[in-house]
Amino acid sequence: MDPTEVEFLAEKEIVKIIPNFSLDKIYLIGGDLGPFNPGLPVQVPVWLALNLKQRQKCRILPPQWMDVDKLEEVREMERKEDSFTPPPSPYYMELTKLLLNHASDNIPKADEIRTLVKDIWDTRIAKLRLSADSFISQQEAHAKLDNLTLMEINTTRSFLLGSLNCMFKLRSNMQPGTSTGKGPDY
């Protein structure tokens, strides 16, 4: 799974937009959308919101959590706690990136939000690295981490699995090596 796929999944999230056109309900496989009334907020998936935004057919209303005060609170919480705190949204990173890249004019204090989300992301990734480190150094067989988002898991998965595999190989070869003395082959 690569980040684009995660982003694709994030595009299913619902945001509110204010359309500037009028359209009846549209019926899609994923569910019915609309009706679109000019000036009236309506909930649509992110992919549609971005599409409409790019065509200048709507204004995007930022999700509730995308607010400087709330994010500051989350950041402080994240820094204070040792474990992972619940993220503001399961797709917070992806949504921030998508919305701020395409609709920064509709989001008040976009720059501050970008910084805050980056801060939160960095804090969480640092925690993740730390726990991966202790996981490996203590040679645990399993560990449980709560409140991780898909994107976070995804960033660390390939590396962690790869290195664990590698270490497993090394160790499994070490063992016979110590018993049979063939270790130095590797």
Partner: protein, 1123 residues
Amino acid sequence: MPCERKPMRYGHSEGHTDVTFDDAGKFIVTCGSDGDVRIWESLDDDDPRSINVGEKAYSLALKKRKLVTAGSNNTVQIHTFPEGDPDGILTRFTTHATHVAFNHSGSRVAAGSSDFMVKVVEVADSSQQKTLRGHDAPVLSVTFDPKDEFLASASCDGSVVIWKIDEQTKVTSWPVLQKSNDVSTAKSLCRLGWQPKTAKLLAVPVGLKVHLYERDSWEHVSTLSDDMMTQPINVVAWSPCGQLLAAGSVGGFLTVWNAESKLCVERQKHEKGYTVCGLAWHPSGRQLAYTDTQGSLGLLDDLPTASSATKTPKAPAVKAANDYDDLFDEDDDRAMDEGLSDTHSPAKRPVAGGDDDDDDDLMPATGRVKNRSSFLDDENSLDTVSLALGQGKYGDDDDAGSTVAPPTGPSLPLRPAYEGPLPTLPQKPFQPGSTPAHLTHRFMTWNSVGVVRGYNDDQDNAVDVEFHDTAVHHAMHLTNALGHTLADLSQEAVLLACPATDELASKLQCLHFSSWDANKEWIVDLPAGEDVRALVLGQGWAAAATSARTLRLFTVGGVQKEIFSLPGHVVSMAAHGEQLLVVYHRGTGFDGDQALGVQLLQLGRRKRQVIHGEPLPLSCKAHLAWLGFTAEGTPCYVDSEGVVRMLNRSLGNTWTPVCNTRETCKGKSDHFWVVAVHENPQQLRCIPCKGSRYPPTLPRPAVAILPFKLPLCQTTTEKGQMEEQYWRSTLLQNHYSFLSSSGYEIDDEGQNQNQKEQQELLMKMFALSCKLEREFRCMELAELMTQSVVTLAVRYASRSRRMNLAQRLNELAMEKANQLQEEQEQEEEEVQEEEHHTPRSRYGQRESAGGHSSSRSHQAREEEPREEEEDESQETETLEADGESRKRLNPFARGAAASPEKPSPKPMSKEGRVNPFKVQGSGKSPSQSRVSNVLDSMTSVRRPAPLGGPSGKQSKGPVLKPLAPKPKTKMQSTLLQMATSKAANKKAQVNPEPAADRLKQPEVPPPDLPVEDSENQKPRTGFQLWLEENRKSILADSPDLQETDVIKAAMGSFRSLSAEDRLSWTERAKGQSGEAADLKKRKRVEEAGEGDESRVKADENIAKKKKSLDTTAKLSAFAFNKN
């Protein structure tokens, strides 16, 4: 408690004077510009003793038998008292002293001089002087702190300074006074007063008010004022008890306040209106001596003492204060502050309201405007202010009366004593959906079309127009050179107006962007002296209400049209299509209420007035906050209490409250700012404003949607809920009949949906009442039902073994059926007559000729292969044929094709659009799944054929046919149905509201599905069964058909049956239940769509035919003939 005002008497020659009492109160001592000090034993003393102290005496002070005077010879002298012997010179200045004062103990004298200095001198030893330097202009007055610690002085430089005497330093300084360059040119003498005994408060006359400053904190704690004070206050003096404060003004007003309650306890006017320049209390506190600039001496006797003064006026004041306190919001700091400091003085509140503005103009109107427009203002404070202003206004009247006829002693009323209703200040005109004009960034209007914003700051004076739907027009940015303050926006134009200025007349500017010529703008100047107060844009016209109480109509292109007078000043206007709604002041409201009147005019071809200036109901003490129409064209408005009311056209144009936005608010000071109301779907579109009444322009507020809720009783119970839903649905359905009566096409599907919902609710309520054994209530509910639902109710009742109820219901059903039949017969007669004159009679006649005429079947067969074409030509024909009553497209219908810019939507293509993803039956409300099977069947019955309702869509004929006919257009292609329901068909043709696009929907032939040949092969399919029964009629219709053609035709007809119909056939095919129904009955079934349902009806029909049968027999039919 009025005091006695003694007549004035001559004291000194013309000029400045001063007055004081001696310590014992035995003598009145005055000085004047003749340089004499006179010692009066009483006011009646005809031979006062005179002591000459110099050329002029400016001020005097008396304590412990020592008389200190400030004279024109630049000295402060001491004389013994009462002997009047010179006792030396206390101090000298470089110019004359202006004011002298003793301290409490009499040990020191302070003197202020025109040489900017203040000196404090020990009386016993004049060499011990302290000089206080710091004023930049002549000193007006000085006063000692009774505790001898501080000294206060006022100066022409505009400041009042507190000095620490011992350190000779400034403690604090307030630049509150008006600056002047000399004592003689100063507006006010500004004699300060320090509260004796407690020494807590320092009274400073500032303009028309007296500011009270608190000792030590030196904060301005409160303000005393009186509406009757029209000119600056010259002197203040504390009563010896320290509770009352007297003030004398330039205009000759004398006012006594109670400093604690801040109530004015006494009010007198100088008999000639001369300026009061000296004021002194008798040590007993019962008398007040005063002198004027003409040298006269006066006395007020029998003044209320502090204790009595607090008692009498307190009762009403406390009561009022409580009232106001209740009104104030806890979280509104400003209101709270005002409440604390001012609530005890209703008479002076308007002044307090004006405090913030630093505005001496105390016209009630200005105060009101300021308060009304303050951005974070709370409505409650607004109300109290308006109330208080009303009181103020009353006071002014009172004042006017007293100046005309000099008051005679006790007859002068004390203002706080007035307890009657007080007039409310009329509310200012406003544009619906606008924020106050004083804001630099404001919404000039926000409506369903778009937003007009006004910017008026340093860089920019501009108007931004933005459309919700960019398809209407692109956004516009206009420079606001004319200073427009009013705006309205429609699909066609932007209308702006500015008030008149000194040079320029009030202008009306219209940007007619939908115009097809090159000139998209016009401006109209109003006649001089006339200001635009409110304006509105309708469809193709504009209206402006002016300050001359006229209403001017224009076309949107700028042609002047009708002009008429309004009965009062306009408050607001709204328009929708051809309707114009005007709200104006009907009169003066009392006790915070507004007296508004409303007019509703129809400005179409048939101009008429629908509502003739009836009073507009508002909540208690509320004013109008929003006025408009629903998207469907029903007038509605919102008052400041957040109650939304809507016109109920079916109840004699009454106003029904449909929603209270304040109930949905989280906080007390939160409001909803309504921008639009929709009836279908039921939406109240508004902007939530946290902690304010109006939304800010940035960040752009988002619209929220509130539901309607009628304030019926017990809406928590199931019964109440259903009642509320029923009546809400009924109320919000009124617009259908209005729209159709005014010639617009209506959304039939929506209407049917509504009616269905209502009938369902009735049925549910019926079932509920049945369960509760309330049979009488059941009957009442049944009265509201349509005939077909009553038959269901009969079934329900008979099933639940309520024979009595069933019998009564049955009678009711018969009655309704008869009624219906009569109506329809009448209609039909009319219709038949009409038909001969309309081009459409081609069909009508042919069909009324009845039978299966070969000509018709021939034509029908011809048409068959080109069904689609026929449909279309039918469509066009319908449009053309409608001749006299051509349907106008409803420009307010929602949806993609709703824009009036291009009013040619293709209903066919829109409705007929095949949606492969559309969930079947999505139109059904989820609640249906929960209702009993009786209701289920009702739903399915009504789906193919919506209930007729009052519009008389029921099919005619002697039999009970609760089902509406299929629309004619379809009949043409479905031969069979044509044959079976000719009468119905004809009815549909002449139906005044074809609106075929909606009704047609369920019947549009399924898109080119491959013919299921397998169906023919199977031994028993629903189709075969159906064909068997209908072959005869098909053949009868077209006898010369080949067998294959017959099948084809039949197939077409069968397919055009609704899904339910087909299903029932299929089911029957499976079950092969021995239906012994005859063909005629079967046809009815076909329409009814469900076997058992129609059987009940058939039974009923039979029962009806055999009227000789007794009721028990009929009932038994109900009870035991069920499936």
